[in-house]
């Protein structure tokens, strides 16, 4: 509907520009990295003033293509036209001159510098040799922020800002450089649902003002909600260019993955067994010393998936850390009872165990921060598949000397079973795409044959092919009689996988509902009973005004 609003503006802009209706046209772009063709004769046409989705699985070549457009990567061949004119972009400075702006997936902000310094960097008032004019920079940022309705305090250091506000700074940075074409590389991957809605409003407003937006994502819902047209990449090639209005999720998913994808998880009703995890009146503090958990109690049975829903930052992370032995509880009790195997019926009190001990009593854990605590990125796939189990007799003689042959066999087996796409198990995990990194963790944790599996944000930043795979495996584990605790910020994921849903708000479980509960009902519970969205907005407001 916003398409009509902005049409006049787009037209008004065109007469003085070239006749081409395309703000961006990339033709026959090729780029090969050692061992992989990231872009194979890719074409991209983006109309002036539209919001254009660039979708594809992880590793499809989206970032590479946009880095080429922004001048960060040199293509092996191909042509780029901006507003119908052939251009050569050999560095970000060229792109900036052509009014192209890019918000990178990993933010390009300098944490110890202030918002204003980050925004004006490289185009400071007065030029390179002048004295840095703090007041003028501040003024310019405030003007910009007022003009585009993106409130921010110019004097706050970046390291003090929430991820959502950092992204706002990135957008302002592009606008400060007078970007007409705005590229956003997976901007919602790090945002809460509320922040995502806010971002969409901002992008729609920008598009109404005549800006062209290229929006990279692999979340189909976002494509349908926000964009006008879609270009789909698969393994470095174009596989479709669609008008969003005429497309549907299943069609785009099929193009992305190259086969039918089950967007809904197929599962039979759960057949819950005895209680495996029992959490009683658990209390814990956050890193900042606040009471993150304020008396949490629940149970997870064998053969069921209990989902924990909630806006991020309501204690979910701390809960998972306590359960997996990475954080000390200040009060309460956690027990794990074996529901199968040799120690059936045996109960362990894991309240004050450390991470290694918790693993030994049958708890597996897929951590939410896969790069920080799930994997050793610079280490090989082989080493990562035995992480935490390197002292097992199977993998080590006398607990100290690794049996490398065994480890290699084991890694190869897991890679095969869990469909990790890699040429070799000797590669560092860093070389894998996000989805494949996550599969390494999932493989390792499932292979431990646990009693309880804690899965925290198991599909964050993972492409749909891998999401489908991980979801299917989770349900399989459930049907094999494991107890599964699923924590996710994706409401869709929680609703489609869980047998029961516990909603967390401000360190408490406010209710436990069935997956049939409506999205509105869950949304209401997640925000403490208030209309959804209100609480986040307040928070953004207060952070934005810090010190102003």
């Amino acid at each position: 509907m916003h398409e009509q609003d902005k049409a006049p503006l787009a037209q008004a802009a065109s007469p003085d520009l070239a006749a081409s209706p395309y703000a961006v046209e990339m033709r026959d772009i090729c780029k090969a990295w050692p061992g992989v063709v990231a872009n194979d004769h890719v074409n991209l046409r983006v109309r002036r003033g539209e919001i254009h989705a660039l979708v594809g699985e992880n590793g499809a070549g989206k970032t590479t293509l946009m880095n080429i457009l922004y001048g960060l990567v040199r293509p092996d061949s191909g042509e780029i036209y901006i507003n119908g004119e052939r251009v050569h972009i050999s560095g970000p400075r060229d792109a900036i001159r052509l009014h192209i702006g890019m918000v990178h997936q990993h933010f390009m902000l300098i944490p110890p510098l202030t918002v204003a310094e980050n925004i004006v960097l490289g185009q400071e008032p007065g030029g390179p040799l002048a004295v840095y004019d703090r007041r003028r920079a501040r003024e310019l940022v405030l003007q910009l922020s007022a003009r585009y309705g993106l409130p921010i305090d110019p004097d706050t250091r970046i390291e003090k800002l929430s991820v959502g506000l950092q992204q706002r700074v990135e957008i302002l940075k592009a606008l400060y450089r007078a970007a007409d074409i705005l590229i956003l590389d997976e901007p919602t991957g790090v945002l809460t649902p509320q922040e995502t809605y806010e971002l969409f409003d901002v992008l729609r407003a920008l598009s109404r003002q005549g800006k062209t937006v290229i929006f990279i994502t692999h979340k189909l819902r976002e494509v349908l909600d926000l964009t006008d047209r879609v270009t789909v990449l698969r393994r470095g090639r174009n596989v479709g260019e669609l008008v969003t209005r005429e497309a549907n999720q299943a069609e785009i998913a099929r193009l992305m993955v190259g086969r039918e994808v089950l967007l809904r998880v197929e599962k039979r009703p759960a057949r819950p067994g005895p209680v495996v995890l029992r959490v009683e009146n658990l209390h814990a503090s956050s890193d900042r010393g606040l009471e993150a958990l304020q008396g949490v109690s629940f149970e997870v049975h064998a053969g069921e998936i209990l989902g924990i829903a909630g806006v991020e930052g309501n204690g979910q992370s701390e809960l998972v850390e306590v359960l997996s032995g990475m954080r000390r509880a200040t009060a309460g009790r956690v027990t794990v009872t074996h529901a199968s195997g040799q120690q059936i019926g045996k109960t362990y009190d894991i309240t004050s165990m450390n991470a290694r001990e918790v693993r030994l009593v049958g708890v597996a854990h897929i951590p939410e921060d896969r790069r920080g605590s799930g994997l050793v990125l610079s280490d090989t796939i082989e080493s990562n598949t035995i992480l935490g189990r390197e002292r097992w007799p199977r993998f080590a003689w006398a607990r100290f000397i690794l049996r490398l042959g065994e480890v290699a066999l084991w890694a190869r087996r897991l890679v095969r079973e869990f469909d990790v796409r890699t040429p070799s198990t000797r590669l560092p995990v860093r070389a894998l795409s996000g989805g494949n990194q996550q599969k390494v963790i999932v493989a390792r944790e499932f292979a431990a044959d646990p009693q309880l599996l804690i899965a925290a944000q198991p599909t964050r930043g993972v492409d749909i092919g891998a999401i489908e795979f991980i979801h299917r495996r989770l349900v399989e584990q459930r049907d094999a009689g494991k107890a599964i605790l699923l924590v996710s910020a994706e409401l869709d994921e929680i609703r489609s996988l869980s047998d029961r849903i516990a909603v967390m708000y401000e360190g408490r479980i406010v209710d436990i509902v069935t997956p049939e509960a409506s999205e509105e009902e869950l949304g209401l519970l997640m925000t403490g009973g208030r209309p959804s969205g209100a609480s986040r907005e307040e928070e953004a407001q207060t952070t934005g005004d810090l010190g102003a």
């Binding site: 390009m108 510098l113 960097l121 390179p128 840095y132």
Partner: protein, 316 residues
């Protein structure tokens, strides 16, 4: 025996004059280190660049009969050697520590060799006073008791150093260029995507560190010693390196560190009359260093991308 001499030494203008001179000699390469590391290039080769500056300064002064030409040649020589370090670490993305070590070793060997070959092992004669960098004449100010000797009877390069110190502090923290330099040292990807040329900034900063080290070499050879001796820098470039870290990568901080080191060096020279073993005294500056490190400085944090070559297009 000790205390009376100690008291006399510590209150003498001699000691403080020497301290400031030693400090300035350390500060020039330290400022070079600050600017290079702020832009994200580790430079441990100030020692070598300084030594080259000493040698080229003396040789060119003798050949041209002009100390000014010698001074300029020393500065340029330091800059050229730094350019080599720049090409190796910025362009070729080689290990910056290894490159620095190579430059130090090469500078030592080269100056030694040339010195011996050229003079047939005789060594370079002492320069005539008109071929030396002069002490600046402040007129009546120099006659002030104590302060006159300490502040107004210094070599001309001493005052240049103070101007550079203030200028560099201002440049780094008050100007747009300084903002860019710090940005490049913290997060080159961010600077590049914001339109700042990472290469240009890094080259400029590395070369600047060489120019400053070359100047320090000229100061030492043409101002203080008046001749060239093998390995005459005697580790000053390395002490400067320590001053960079203790000074928390700021010019003023480095100046503070250099003052402490300078005092230590001067003390170790002047206290020789007390009968304390001279070898033991020679450790004094370093003991002061450790005390300063524990007591005054606390944790220092290097620029985030210090020593990391920049690869465009690699997001992580």
């Amino acid at each position: 025996m000790f205390w009376p001499i100690f008291l006399r030494v510590i209150t003498s203008g001699d000691l403080w004059q020497a301290s400031l001179q030693f400090a300035a000699l350390l500060l020039l390469p330290a400022l070079g280190g600050v600017i290079s590391e702020r832009s994200g290039v580790v430079n441990i080769a100030m020692e070598g660049m300084m030594l080259i500056g000493c040698y080229v300064g003396v040789v060119v002064t003798l050949a041209s009969h002009s100390v000014l030409v010698g001074l300029l040649a020393a500065i340029v020589a330091g800059g050229l050697l730094a350019l080599v370090h720049g090409v190796v670490s910025i362009h070729l993305k080689a290990d910056q520590i290894i490159s620095g070590i190579a430059i130090n070793v090469a500078a030592l060997g080269l100056t030694n060799y040339l010195n011996i070959v050229q003079t047939g092992g005789q060594g370079i004669p002492t320069l005539a006073s008109n071929l030396r960098l002069p002490v600046l004449n402040w007129g009546p100010l120099a006659q002030l008791p104590f302060l006159g000797q300490v502040l107004f009877q210094q070599n001309v390069v001493f005052y240049v150093t103070i101007v550079i110190l203030v200028g560099l502090q201002f440049l780094l923290f008050r100007t747009n260029l300084g903002l860019r330099i710090r940005a490049v040292g913290e997060h080159p990807q961010a600077a590049d995507t914001a339109g700042v040329s990472v290469r240009l900034i890094r080259y400029a900063c590395v070369v600047a560190s060489g120019l400053l080290s070359g100047l320090a070499g000229a100061f030492l050879a043409l101002g203080v010693a008046g001749t060239f001796n093998s390995n005459m820098t005697a580790g000053r470039g390395f002490i400067a390196l320590a001053a960079v870290v203790f000074g928390k990568y700021t010019p003023l901080g480095a100046a503070g560190a250099c003052l402490i080191f300078g005092l230590g060096l001067a003390l170790s020279v002047r206290l020789q009359d007390t009968g304390i073993d001279s070898n033991l005294l020679a450790t004094l500056p370093y003991i002061l260093t450790i005390i300063a490190l524990i007591g005054l400085v606390g944790r220092t944090v290097a620029p985030a991308a210090d020593g990391v070559p920049y690869e465009p297009g690699s997001a992580e």
